[in-house]
Symmetry: C2
Amino acid sequence: MSQKPAIPKGTRDFIPQEMIRRNYIFDTIKSVFQQYGFLPIETPAMENLSTLMGKYGEEGDKLLFKILDSGDYLKKNTIDEIINVLLNEINFTRDKLQNEILSNKNGDITEDKNKLEKLTEFAVKGIELFNNSKNITLNISEKGLRYDLTVPFARFVVQHQNEITFPFKRYQIQPVWRADRPQKGRYREFYQCDVDVVGSDSLINEVELIQIVDNVFEKLNVEVTIKINNRKILSGIAEIIGEADKIIDITVAIDKLDKIGLEKVNEELSAKGISEKAIAQLQPIINLSGTNVEKIADLKSILSSSTIGQKGIAELEQVFKLSSNLNIQSKIELDLTLARGLNYYTGAIFEVKANHVEMGSICGGGRYDDLTGIFGLKDVSGVGISFGADRIYDVLQQLNRFQSQNLNNVKLMFANFGELETVYCMKMLEKVRKAGINAELYPDAAKMKKQFSYADSKEIKFVAIVGENEMQVNKVSLKNMTTGEQKTLSVEEMIEVLKNN
Amino acid sequence: MSQKPAIPKGTRDFIPQEMIRRNYIFDTIKSVFQQYGFLPIETPAMENLSTLMGKYGEEGDKLLFKILDSGDYLKKNTIDEIINVLLNEINFTRDKLQNEILSNKNGDITEDKNKLEKLTEFAVKGIELFNNSKNITLNISEKGLRYDLTVPFARFVVQHQNEITFPFKRYQIQPVWRADRPQKGRYREFYQCDVDVVGSDSLINEVELIQIVDNVFEKLNVEVTIKINNRKILSGIAEIIGEADKIIDITVAIDKLDKIGLEKVNEELSAKGISEKAIAQLQPIINLSGTNVEKIADLKSILSSSTIGQKGIAELEQVFKLSSNLNIQSKIELDLTLARGLNYYTGAIFEVKANHVEMGSICGGGRYDDLTGIFGLKDVSGVGISFGADRIYDVLQQLNRFQSQNLNNVKLMFANFGELETVYCMKMLEKVRKAGINAELYPDAAKMKKQFSYADSKEIKFVAIVGENEMQVNKVSLKNMTTGEQKTLSVEEMIEVLKNN
């Protein structure tokens, strides 16, 4: 009997066609990260649970995948521990009952004691039955699969602080695992692509992250809007209206302006317990519009009395100023409703959306001032951004932006006509590959139809045909699979054609 | 209180310096795989335990890491199940005891029954106490981390047989996990790089795998010896000496010839229960020497009576013949002691060793005729080879073959002299990066000593200095960090220097 092959729910296999497209995205992102001086690191898939627990809120703890060593799993330590607890309970029960019997009876208690012993014996037998049960095993897990790349990165920075140099510019592209309920577009295993600088307060880092986003999507041929906000501005707003603890409610409500209109936004603010006075003070903020420069001018006057608000505006202004000096294609948009993991971020907040397509944000990030504190390294400021590979894939797919010339496919297949031709083709193949071209020889002398359909399925653009005629003149017939055109060429001429197509 | 950061035993973090070297190895291997028409796939880190269990022997099953969903882990299903078992036992005990009381007593049993109820109540309370215990949790695992890439690949081929085209040429570079006892050079998480063709019997595939190995190590600048054997020849030897079941003992003993000499080898064969007659027949095989051609000539006569042996020789001869036609640098050596996972392989067996360095094999593989059978797809022959990235890393390290020009480091750092210079440098940086050069600007206007030591630690070869003088003439002073040489250049001139260094 053979098993029906399957994989755990919420996980995916990637067939070559998907992998080639995914690698195109990853390679593009990586090459830009590297151009900006970011270096790769990797951390293990498993982290100690003490590293992971309590870092993602109560909900996050529940979504951790925990790991058992198979060895530990079969060890009886934990089972023995539970058995001991149960046996103690039974003994405790017996002693208590014996005392009751003693205190209620004046005469002979032998019979009662015998009964009691018998009952205890039965109870112990029950426990043994449980102990021998093969279907139930017990364990305690000490390891978990990483839930994101941020916490492992913080752990890494602290653990390796003497091996790395600050400011530390790293990127990390690895899968993460979440025991989320699987649903469309949400997986239990997915890649994150994070890029961060830690140990530098400079706003140049914020600007470079904007450049990185811009460069990546220019290379991927996708127009994006880079939304930016600053946590200090949000704090300033909360400060001037006297509702510091309601800042999330406020941003959530303001975010709905386009959808539900000003009146409904104000109703929602009121329902959330924001005072009438505060709502009145919020009106110019909700109605903030125009260019970034106009918005900043308005904010400057609105937040004139808030020191922290002014600091946030100054940071944003500096980022805009440095950016405007550079050749950035994407639209950069100040968006006060951008909050994200608010408790986490302390300065800039970023989010990136693809234009011309309905899709959630494809990148997100910001500045945080104490990521490594929990692992014992205080006062290390960092700023970073994360690229959502799955969503970027979907955007490219929807906009039809996967272009064959960017994908690392096989370019040429030699058809196989038999042993003699094989020897000849393998010599030619050496030259083609030496020229850096991905090429193959169909391994069996199968029917031509089968060989051509193989080439089609691999999206191979050219098929080389070498028969007796070609061998006699030391040439090759090259068939363009798209146009159907066929030419007889020398190996060198063929290599030129392949390089230019 | 902060936690001391640590990772699970047997796992590793990779700092940038290591990652750059590792990526150089992976990228080299990948580029060669692609040149031969192999395409990437990926499978999930987790597989169903039903896919993994029983595929790696009893020992392998013990080395699987098993996974719990945290959700499941906290779910009370399993705990409830156990509690039910226990409560049933208690009820069973109570009923039994009640029957005993009834059968022994003729009078009023109310008091006894009351006592019994009380005791039952206490027992149930004990169970509840256990149930509420926070430190003990229970679960059943249904998933495990992949142990190698071979079994997931077999599962993948069967599961996606209608989406892929045969012959299916795939490569896969992903980590695997084994709950082995950690020791020097043995990790609980490590990468495998596998390349396989399934669905083709052609010996061209064997030859291409040899070419791939040769190309990879030529690119990595390491001389290797490719050892090859054929399972059918081993079967032939076992057949002619009448000791088919002792083939592993025989190859293990013959393997020791260089170390312990012929006499001791024969003693060992005798100790393993090989008959005197068989040992006598083995002498020409043990003493087999000379070139591959000479060895094959000898084998042909020794195995003349074995059909399967002759088939193995013919296969090997064909592989040698096709290879000799090609430009293969590595030594290819017929090695009859090569057995590896003997039960697994059915044709060619490969192993690769690095010359001039003491190290186990760095690649291994062979042909197998029924990998996918267990998942329901019969008669699919495959052949493949696996590259051991960690050992290859150690070989390159020991032979000092990591050359900076091959490593994707940052090439240029602009020193940071302050805000005005920053704006100027960022414009220049745009051009440098546009030219495909990895470069960065130190983000803070820190002391020069600190900035230069940062450049050193990142092995950055050039530092660009832009002060007032340089800005006035629209130039940059470029310092070569290795030679100390400094030149004043235009951006375009600088880019030329960087491209050529």
